[in-house]
Symmetry: C2
Subunit: 398 residues, 2 copies
């Protein structure tokens, strides 16, 4: 058998592959991007399951429409109105099989082989993987502490005509945990309004904020080719695989609908109706507030442990929300080598390599704090610190 | 915005588009391919939902593995052992978001732009749609009453080196309702074993048999590049979107796994665990027997009504199972014109056109009998017969 060039070029997910190793009960894993299971509203969902079946019967179990369950799309539209004053209608929203499918839909609809995608450097590896199936050329633009470098973005767009879209995670970015500043959002908007490109704002973590005020989107509601991606994976449950695409560009939405038909006909309607019942019967804001409190405690535990156990030469981000901390080791230290030593000590994380489209053997890495107890976080960081001191010339003081 | 060539060339599903029109309560629809909702085991599924949550808790709601829930894959492997004596292991099985996603996965993994796919003529329109996103060249091979024309298949394969796979629906074919004979299966196997191509056997309807004996697969268990597709949509519920791919080719399965990661990470684990609980707690054979009995009654009602109300110049298939009847009108009669007249009389079906990759304005059409009451079937066929008599020169005798 000969396989397609696109699949031979698509990286298998480093994270998904190591999850099997890191699943072992004696491994402390900061590798995945898993929500804390104690945050799942299981009792409320169970009530909604029984209620939704009693109310709707066979409709939960039959084929359904490609665009998704109308009351769920209405709920999402109303939520953007309340939270951001954005004027979306249900027809601007299509329900996807998780946000991951949204990435695949967009790249299939927009990209011919060899056309361009601007991606954050470092950027979300699931997006790199999804886009790669459409065989694009990646244009990495440096992600700074407050967002994409706007000058570099303009330079990239002005010198490469075949770029189709820019992919961003503006809030509590994966993998770095950073959030785009208000100024950076404006600067990027000013650049993008001059070009015929789509802006993808992928926002699965935005509501998980425990510090600071939420900011308006870069393009949503004002750029013609704005595409917003959302998900219930981090605020209700990832197991049901329910995400969504929002765009007011009707032609684009029509093509996305056709691609969705070809890919899986429609998203699981059983789960859509249960999720809608849950959202209609519970106060989501209160629930999200509890998750944010939990993650703040976990993040602070990790940051305090890093301050205590890591050499002073190690730098890292201090997120105001979300699920990740991004660590930069001393210049020349290999994150992959660090990973191998850490696994010997039964601690896992994701070395930076898969978050870049054109760099290897980097000195950066991603830590997740949401799926470990505070005791495990303290112990895991302690072990990592010990290895880091051994790798550096600094003398450990703790 | 400029869109990709592949999406501009992908047809939007005729069926999905007309479903909106045919959903009106006063329309008698033979258009969709929907199971009869009275066949959904709602009470048993409700029990399984509560039981699965009580047993597994947060696991139903967390991220899960790309290949799918192990006990469900084990159940599927055991079922093939029992039903066909086929020796599959869970590692040969990957759970997909419905069979539709399996079609998309296979075409992404195997096809470069311009490479070949052999498709039945007429063939399943959802497959044509999914494959089109990978920009192949289609090689239609005539589907006869007992399966693909084997000589034409051999001629096609021997003269076109870039063909990657053959797509078939061997049991109660969509759209025609025909089943491949034992002799045809052998003849096709003898052809395929000489070529380095994959054989896709898509079998969502095979268990819905009310007449005759089940037959062994063409390639499963004996062709190296055999791929079998299955689904729970027609025998339990389509709303949960659970299908699967079976292949013993490990390299192919590895690539499919990578593509699945890129497309949606994994199939809804909440639904997988509930479905598995249902399958482990109930006798599926008994349940399927009831569905087959129901569909036999509906099919016979339609066939008897067609014998009574249709002109004698109209030909049609007489299925031994499944969900569809294929109608061939008098030479020169346009199924699309017939469709427009039928919609005026509030009866819907699918004109043959979307089931062909290179023909339009054909004289064939698909009727579905599973989602209408026997009264509605009788009334709908009566109305269609009246139009057909008006379109033909024959005099109506009923």
């Amino acid at each position: 058998m000969k396989y397609s060039d696109k699949i031979l070029n698509t990286p298998s997910s480093f994270i998904r592959n190591i999850l099997k190793v890191t699943d072992a009960p004696d491994v402390i894993s900061f590798a995945g991007g898993l929500p804390n299971p104690i945050s799942f509203p299981i009792d409320e969902l169970k009530q909604s399951i029984n209620h939704a079946i009693d109310e709707n019967g066979a409709k939960l179990f039959q084929y359904s429409t490609t665009e998704g369950y109308l009351p769920l799309r209405q709920y999402i539209a109303d939520k953007y109105k309340t939270d951001f004053g954005l004027d979306f209608e249900p027809e601007d929203i299509l329900i996807t099989t998780g946000s991951q499918q949204a990435l695949e839909l967009i790249s299939q609809v927009l990209l011919n082989k060899g056309e361009g995608v601007v991606i954050e450097e470092p950027g979300y590896l699931g997006a790199i993987q999804a886009f790669t199936l459409a065989e694009p050329v990646f244009y990495p633009v440096t992600l700074e502490e407050d967002g994409l470098n706007a000058e570099q973005l303009e330079e990239t767009l002005s010198t490469n005509e075949h770029i189709k879209f820019i992919y961003t995670v503006p809030n509590f970015h994966n993998p770095t945990g950073i959030t785009y500043s208000q100024e950076k959002r404006e600067a990027i908007y000013e650049v993008l309004k001059k070009y015929d490109v789509a802006l993808i704002e992928d926002d699965p973590y935005g509501e998980l904020r425990w510090s600071g005020e939420k900011l308006p989107y870069i393009g949503a509601g004002r750029l013609e080719n704005s595409v917003l991606l959302g998900s219930f994976s981090k605020i209700v449950t990832p197991g049901m695989r329910i995400g969504y695409i929002v765009t007011k560009n009707k032609e684009l939405m029509g093509h996305i609908n056709t691609a969705k038909q070809a890919m899986d006909l429609h998203t699981n309607i059983f789960s859509q109706m249960i999720l809608h019942d849950y959202l209609a019967s519970n106060d989501l804001k209160t629930h999200i507030g509890k998750i944010a409190d939990l993650y703040q405690t976990q993040a602070n535990t990790m940051l305090n442990a890093m301050a205590k156990y890591f050499p002073s030469t190690v730098n890292y981000t201090k997120p105001d929300g979300g699920m990740f901390i991004w660590v930069t080791l001393e210049e020349g230290t290999s994150a992959l080598e660090f990973f191998n030593k850490a696994m010997e000590e039964k601690v896992a994380f994701v070395p930076g390599d898969p978050f870049y489209t054109n760099k290897t053997n980097v000195n950066t890495l991603r830590l997740n704090y949401t799926n470990s107890s505070t005791e495990m976080i303290e112990e895991g960081i302690k072990r990592l610190g010990k290895i880091l001191y051994a790798l550096s010339n600094e003398k450990q003081t703790v």
